[in-house]
Symmetry: C2
Subunit: 273 residues, 2 copies
């Protein structure tokens, strides 16, 4: 059986934020092909009930599975938190990866018995998946979590630096910066939109400040460790291809998506779920 | 036939922003009953295609019509711009009101041959409904329109004043403030979320600055002018009742919705479309 090595890795998100994960995956695995689906017709998942998100995630995954993928990355925090078990069971033996566990793993490893701050959307914070995953690994951690809806809007406007970004970040980190009584030892970016703020955030934290953990990057690293193993054959070399699907708004996908992918988006195929 | 006077006025929006319109309607018509539906399971409408928005609007309106309403207010800019004709035709002879025309009417009347700035969501700006409605009334107007996604996030966070709001407003109004070469004569709030920023905006514009036109208020005034007429009998007095429906997330609806309604939200009934 030689087919799987040639198959792409499937990635899905409720929209375009997952393109930061795709970007990290392509950097970590440049020879692999990727097939990305943004369920833009039904975003955001974060405000929907867990049952609805699970149903949507299974539908989105089906499109990718039908086109033939060798692994599935759920590049969406909401779906990672509530639909990972359902997807793993439904599409077994396909390897399925979420973004929550790798991010939590890296932040817990870095933080010893310190304080971790999770920056995420309102629904991710309220769902508590990062908090649970961190404490399961290191019960001695102090885990703080802040919902940051402004950062989502700033990211989608393509504002990744400047006074508004600095003011918003300083506000969300108030009392937790180096020198503050509540200073944190690591900041976990628990929303796929947020890697774009990493430089601004690191500037605010300073050289001796908290370490920034990016769940896009840690997810890519987790997948890269598995590629080439028994369940996940590596591609045969050459530059990997990229195909993008969306359920609505191809024009907006191309325009806003490039901020997250970090390069122009050539074409987007519209699909119906 | 005495039934219609007792029937509520139906109001729908893709989510909670329309509660600012409901608030203005209740202030203008305190004796009327209102039935509000927020299609929170499928928000935002703004990123969806016109066909999808039209289909969703007809489904949302059906729920209200089935419960018996004497008029329908489309308290959503996206749906007002693309679905008003479809709704009017489908549910005739029910009087149907949108938010775009009354806002444009008021701003055009105020602005003479001056410059009008429309602040709205990205999709409303791109759809161009306000720009067309303004120019149809006063072809001599200069109409500027700015998409303000940050203001949506700030509004939903309950941040209606403070340094972040001031910085965001100043940024969106750059070059158009009193004294600037591009100073505008009126600012039209073309998003149902934005009435909460009216005090901050008026403070930035100053006493002699542009007039702020709020499409929630102008829509309420347009409806109030019709109530008591042949097609729209007035309620019989007493304090009007309020019923709220949503398609998902009743808890978030209550929590965030109070910022827009301006008072606590007692209960929300979940419905399926």
């Amino acid at each position: 059986m030689t087919e799987p090595a040639a198959a792409p890795i499937g990635v899905f998100d409720s929209g375009m934020g997952g393109l930061t994960v795709l970007r990290a995956l392509r950097a970590a695995l440049p020879g692999e092909d990727f097939l990305y689906l943004g369920d833009t017709a039904r975003l955001p998942y974060g405000t929907k009930s867990p049952d609805t998100v699970q149903r949507y995630a299974v539908q989105a995954a089906r499109i990718l599975v039908e086109r033939g993928i060798k692994a599935l990355v759920v590049a969406c925090n909401t779906a990672s938190a509530v639909a990972l078990d359902a997807l793993t069971e439904r599409y077994a033996p396909l390897p399925v990866f979420g973004v929550v566990e790798p991010g939590a793993e890296a932040a817990a490893a870095l933080s010893g018995r310190g304080r971790v701050l999770v920056l995420a959307t309102e629904s991710t914070v309220r769902g508590g998946a990062y908090q649970r995953a961190l404490l399961a690994r290191r019960p001695g951690l102090t885990v703080l979590a802040r919902p940051c809806p402004l950062l989502v809007a700033l990211a989608e406007e393509g504002r990744h630096a400047g006074p508004l970004v600095d003011l918003a970040l300083a506000d969300y980190l108030r009392g937790m910066l180096p020198g503050d009584r509540g200073a944190v030892s690591s900041v976990l970016l628990g929303c796929t939109h947020f890697p774009v703020f990493r430089p601004a955030l690191e500037a605010i934290l300073g050289r001796d400040g908290a370490t920034v953990v990016d769940s896009a990057e840690t997810t890519a690293a987790a997948l890269a460790r598995r590629v080439g193993g028994a369940d996940l054959p590596a591609a045969r070399g050459g530059a990997g291809r990229l195909s993008l699907l969306a359920t609505d708004g191809a024009e907006r996908f191309r325009r806003v998506g490039r901020y997250f992918l970090g390069e122009p988006i050539p074409s987007v195929e519209l699909v119906d779920l």
